[in-house]
């Protein structure tokens, strides 16, 4: 049996009169890049916020690395092993790049007030280990030379990478990236793609929410497509691209008879 990292089933979430999610479920295996796509307002971000604890779902079951978890508090979810990035980058702008990643180690370290005040040996060792790991992660995502720069002074693409490094610092079971390519130019996208590829090769698991269909199709092992809060397709990128419902959701009805539906990859350029 394959090693399942995240298994969620039957998630529903209603905001007043809007059924944002109805009965959504997916299973992510270790080492996969799992894509979650859908047109604007399809419920991608709602789904994301539900599994990361920002919203409380109306129903649904959650299982992370074989253990059930309830996404009730955001910080508990990070502790359980889901690290996320944000659609509109949320770094700690006035802290240095290194400090940003060091914050990511918070959840896997334990020194407290007394350790800090008296500089105990345990505290010093832990602190050195945190700094070392943070520097390794900065090098890993390719911004090692910006260690002492404040996060807000980095370029857009580097800020994205810093956010990924910070997420990796929490030793996550699953890294959830919320539209990492948003606002990137094509060169930056290539670099991002290489980075995600590298993270996958290190046997980490990624949930990718993305608008950029080309990126998703090129990277992902499996894809789920949402539309109006419903799951309309699930499978390999190849199958999903040919799914009638997906094409319809992205491009609308075809007036002609079947057979000439355009490739969904062009959907992003409309």
């Amino acid at each position: 049996m394959a090693d399942v990292v995240l298994r969620v089933a039957g998630i529903s979430k209603r905001f007043g009169g809007l059924q944002a999610l109805s009965d959504v479920g997916l299973t992510i295996e270790r080492g996969q890049v799992y894509g979650l796509i859908g047109p604007n307002g399809a419920g991608k971000t709602t789904f994301f916020n539900v599994i990361t604890g920002l919203y409380t779902p109306d129903s649904g079951s959650f299982e992370l690395a074989g253990k059930p978890y309830t996404p009730s508090a955001v910080h508990e979810v990070a502790k359980a092993g889901i690290a996320r990035t944000f659609q509109n980058i949320r770094l700690f702008p006035d802290m240095t790049a290194l400090e940003n990643v060091m914050v990511g180690r918070h959840v896997r370290t334990s020194s407290g007030l007394m350790g800090a005040m008296f500089r105990t040996r345990k505290f010093k060792e832990e602190e050195a280990a945190i700094a070392k790991r943070a520097q390794e992660l900065l090098d890993y995502v390719g911004i090692g030379k910006f260690t002492d720069y404040k996060a807000r002074t980095l370029s857009y693409g580097d800020q994205r990478r810093l956010e990924i490094a910070r997420a990796l610092a929490t030793d996550p079971q699953l890294i959830a990236l919320d539209e990492p390519a948003a606002g990137m130019n094509s060169t930056e996208k290539v670099v991002l793609r290489e980075l995600i590829d590298r993270i996958r090769k290190d046997n980490r698991t990624i949930l990718l929410i993305e608008h950029d269909v080309k990126l998703v199709m090129g990277l992902c092992d499996r894809v789920t497509v949402l539309d109006y809060g419903k799951q309309i397709a699930q499978g390999s990128p190849y199958d999903v691209q040919r799914d009638e419902k997906v094409i319809e959701a992205y491009l609308g009805h075809s007036h002609k008879a079947t057979g000439t539906a355009p490739a969904p990859a062009s959907g992003e350029q409309q």
């Binding site: 990070a78 770094l91 002074t153």
Partner: protein
């Protein structure tokens, strides 16, 4: 560039200067040492508030409450008030409660810290302006309590305040017959030379300030400090990184309050008298101003801000006395008016020219200047 050896020299010189300063001031008059003492107490307060406002980014406009709690706690534990108000108390402690400083400092820190957490708890979901308003309210509530808790049971003696508070005695061992060093009296070195009481207090306060600076500095460079700053920078991102923001905020409130409490204990021992008047909203505002004016979140800046804003009014008082402004202007301009005028002006100018404070953190990140060379 400063190398390590030069740095040590600078530190030693600074320490010597701080040690000699009160002795020099003392020869000019106790008035000057008193200013230095008050400045040190304010530094202590500003350091405490800096943890809450500077590190964790929680705007607290009621910080003086913890100062008041520390001051009244010591006031009750070291004045005859409780014995006078409650006969049973007088029977229990026939000679009165004369608490040792080694008990009082941790206790003051603890009680204030407890109240810090207690008052912080209801404000956890608030931020920015809303938080400021609620903390402002709490600050006033404490003062109103102190002002009115003289009946039905006389605990705080109301607006009359607590008097005859013991001065602090260090190194006292009754069992060994060592009388200890009473900071309330001048220490006579020779017949002609003595170190005044205010100067002795200066050294005690200085030790406390140095200890506080070390604690703050260490916290700043720790896992806890980083968590506080992460909350300040972006609370949602901090949560997503697994930081329990509720506990961390409470910790910041509690930790900041302990400094206020210790400062209050010292204040009440130093003055020998406390009344609710000393803990008005204006004090809270001044402490916030010290932190902001100096450089929010940056220890040297905060210390500078506290020294400037607490010493400046007193110096101006002296200036206006020397030039006898009152008679020059026919009574229209006296010391207090001049003081407020100049301080307001100074704050406006500083905020216009240096919006990040007089001595803020480096703009672009650490060590970059050195690397560029």
């Amino acid at each position: 560039m400063i190398n390590k050896q030069n740095k040590t020299v600078v530190w030693v010189l600074a320490a010597l200067a701080l040690a000699i300063l009160p002795l020099l001031l003392q020869s000019a008059g106790n008035f000057w040492v008193r200013i230095a003492d008050t400045a040190l107490l304010y530094v202590l307060l500003a350091l405490g508030l800096n943890i809450v406002v500077g590190y964790a980014g929680l705007l607290d406009l009621g910080f003086v409450a913890f100062f008041a709690i520390g001051a009244y706690m010591y006031g009750l534990m070291a004045s005859p008030h409780l014995s006078e108000a409650f006969p049973w108390f007088a029977r229990m402690f026939p000679t009165g409660l004369h608490s040792s400083v080694w008990l009082v400092i941790p206790l003051g820190a603890g009680v204030a810290g407890f109240f810090g957490i207690l008052l912080g708890a209801p404000t956890l979901k608030l931020r920015g302006d809303y938080l400021a308003i609620v903390t402002l309210g709490f600050g006033e509530i404490i003062r109103v309590f102190l002002n009115n808790l003289d009946h039905p049971v006389n605990i705080t003696n109301g607006p009359k305040g607590l008097g005859q508070i013991d001065s602090i005695t260090l190194f006292k061992f009754d069992a060994l017959g060592i009388p200890g060093l009473n900071l309330g009296r001048a220490l006579e070195i020779t017949d002609s030379y003595s170190i005044n009481s205010v100067t002795l207090y200066y050294y005690l306060f200085l030790v406390l300030v140095v200890a506080s600076v070390v604690i703050c500095h260490r916290l700043e460079l720790s896992r806890i400090g980083r968590a506080w700053m992460a909350i300040r920078e972006d609370e949602i991102a901090a949560k997503a990184m697994g930081i329990n923001t509720r506990n961390m905020k409470l910790l910041a409130f509690g930790m900041g309050a302990t400094f206020g409490g210790v400062s209050g204990v010292m204040f009440s021992a130093f003055q020998g008298f406390v009344s609710p008047e000393s803990f008005s909203l204006m004090e809270s505002v001044m402490i916030v101003a010290m932190v902001v004016l100096g450089g929010i979140g940056h220890l040297p800046g905060v210390i500078l801000g506290a020294v400037l804003l607490s010493a400046l009014p007193e110096v101006l008082r002296w200036v206006s006395g020397v030039f006898d402004l009152q008679s020059i202007t026919g009574g229209r301009l006296d010391a207090s008016i001049l003081r407020q005028l100049l301080i307001a002006l100074a704050m406006i100018i500083v905020m216009l020219l240096r919006p990040r404070g007089l001595w803020p953190t480096q703009e672009h990140g650490k060590n970059l200047q050195q690397n560029a060379k």
